[in-house]
Amino acid sequence: MVLLSGQIHADEVNIDVPFELLELVGDVEYGEYLASDCKTCHKADGESGGIPNIYGKSMGELITALYGYREKIIPNPVMQMQAGRLSDEEIAALAAYFEILINWEE
């Protein structure tokens, strides 16, 4: 994605996500509820202003980005705060929900 600010973005950092997190199977229904929080900023029909598109990303990409923000490896304070309160199970639930969205549009 475009570098808006000289800041580092999710796809520009090397992040080693723990294997156990990648292995978790997420609860899609819980993911749908958690994702309602994301929709205040991330619009379903793509990127807008300084908010990137997150729909259509693979499960691996989403887990990596959310883990990276949670562990403060990627610097944006808004996303660090959003991801900061997510447990491993919640990250897996979100990834599972967004993965399903790729196949079934709302």
């Binding site: 819980y30 205040t40 202003g49």
Partner: protein
């Protein structure tokens, strides 16, 4: 978002239905009535309709056909947005989500028979009622000002014609003239709102009205305000010498106005002003009082579900609610609406209910590409909605970071309005 023919038919069909039957809907489905189509109400109506997939009848009562967001209304004043770009219609909610949108005022609530009476005479039955009416002003909170003076000294704290009027009056301030703002006491809608507005008014005067020698006086009943260091830093660097903020230590709370003479008296000193923005003290929208669910000025709720502490069949969202630590913002109202929507669906259709989670971020624009933000996450405890974690922009940040922050706010605006209106 324009009202096209298809949307128009959707809305007017809903109105026709409301007119024809004194009690709308007798389908046997559980019924939800939402009063107020703003940040809280529109979001709640949309989420309940969308996620219940037709299992719940949703009626949204909102008097205006075009909702102008207060958020970004300061950017309209500053010359960064058009008024059109902050106006939204209810067409999609009617046609895409099957919500009965009724353009009327709720004037009565009978909690015993679970009915809402509208100004037009219709009565709506509900199984759950959601109130998100925003704020009203407390009479007499600024000496000399009443709602009858709102054309001479606008509040512009409900967006639309008031915002337009305030902007026009500021544009008409003569060279080197004086604009005054009377800021509100806590708690009030949008803690950084008055100070973002001061920034945008300075921007309007300096760059659009060609009036850099005009003066801005702010009379404030508070000793400090949201993002104060960030705003004062920006006022010093962008609008040097224009803004005089008078806090409570310097008599800023001892204020009266005379809308006919166009004077403002601060701590005994009378000043003739060319334009004046009075932002009075606030309370929950009046329908909450009428429903008998307020305690003091606001309607207390449980953070787990946003249910009224007085009546479990009523949920109160947004500015009108007393919930704990969340600021009164559009973002907060939207966040609370999703928790309430989940709780309402759970109660009426047995769908799964997860623990409530909330968040908020308030961006403010100080100058071109100079955005700042404050945000936090929250959870529900039995006592209140409690803050977990937060952040705030820092003074002295690099220009490119401030620009990225402003860009985020633009993305957020299109995100939240899509989340409200579909």
């Amino acid at each position: 978002m324009k009202l096209d023919r298809r949307n128009f038919i959707g809305t007017s069909a809903a109105i026709a239905a409301a007119m024809a039957a004194p009690t709308v809907m007798a389908s046997g489905k559980p019924r939800v009535v939402v009063v107020g189509g703003g940040a809280g109400g529109a979001t709640a109506a949309r989420y309940i309709a969308k996620d219940s997939k037709g299992a719940i009848d949703v009626t949204l009562v909102e008097p205006t056909r075009n909702y102008y967001t207060c958020f970004f209304s300061n950017l309209y004043i500053g010359g960064f947005r058009s008024l059109d770009s902050i106006g939204h219609s209810y067409g999609n909610l009617a046609t895409e989500y099957g919500i009965n949108v009724v353009h009327d005022w709720a004037v009565g609530i009978d909690r015993g028979s679970k009915t809402v009476t509208l100004a037009g005479g219709a009565t709506l039955n509900y199984d759950r009622l959601i109130l998100s009416p925003g704020i009203d002003f407390i009479d007499g909170s600024v000496e000399g000002w009443s709602i009858n003076a709102q054309n001479k000294m606008p509040h512009a704290y409900k967006a639309g014609s008031q915002t337009e009027l305030l902007k026009a009056q500021i544009e008409a301030v003569p060279q080197g003239g004086v604009f005054a703002m009377v800021a509100p006491p806590n708690p009030y809608r949008c803690p950084p709102g008055p100070y973002e507005r001061v920034s945008m008014i300075a921007h309007l005067l300096k760059y659009h009205a060609n009036n850099p020698t005009a003066k801005i006086i702010v009379a404030d009943p508070k000793p400090k305000f949201s993002k104060m260091g960030l705003f004062q830093e920006g006022w010093g660097s962008h609008y040097s010498g224009m803004i005089d903020w008078i806090g409570s230590e310097f008599g800023g709370g001892n204020v009266s106005v005379d809308p006919d003479a166009m004077t403002v008296t601060i701590d005994g000193e009378v000043t003739k002003v060319d334009a004046c923005n009075v932002i009075p003290a606030m309370k929950a929208g009046r329908i909450c009082e009428i429903a008998g669910i307020t305690e003091g000025n606001w309607a207390p709720v449980s953070g787990h579900t946003m249910q009224s502490r007085v009546d479990e069949n009523i949920h109160v969202l947004g500015d009108a609610s007393a919930q704990g630590d969340m600021p009164k913002s559009g973002y907060s109202a939207n966040s609370q609406a999703k928790v309430a929507a989940m709780a309402v669906r759970g109660a009426l259709t047995g769908s799964k209910v997860f623990p409530a989670k909330f968040s908020n971020t308030c961006w403010s624009l100080v100058h071109t590409n100079d955005g700042v933000k404050v945000g936090a996450t929250y959870e529900a405890t039995d006592e209140k909605i409690a803050k977990i974690d937060g952040f705030v922009s820092k003074t002295g940040e690099a220009a490119d970071l401030r620009k990225a922050t402003y860009q985020e706010s633009i993305g957020w605006y299109s995100g939240i309005t899509a989340d409200m209106f579909g």
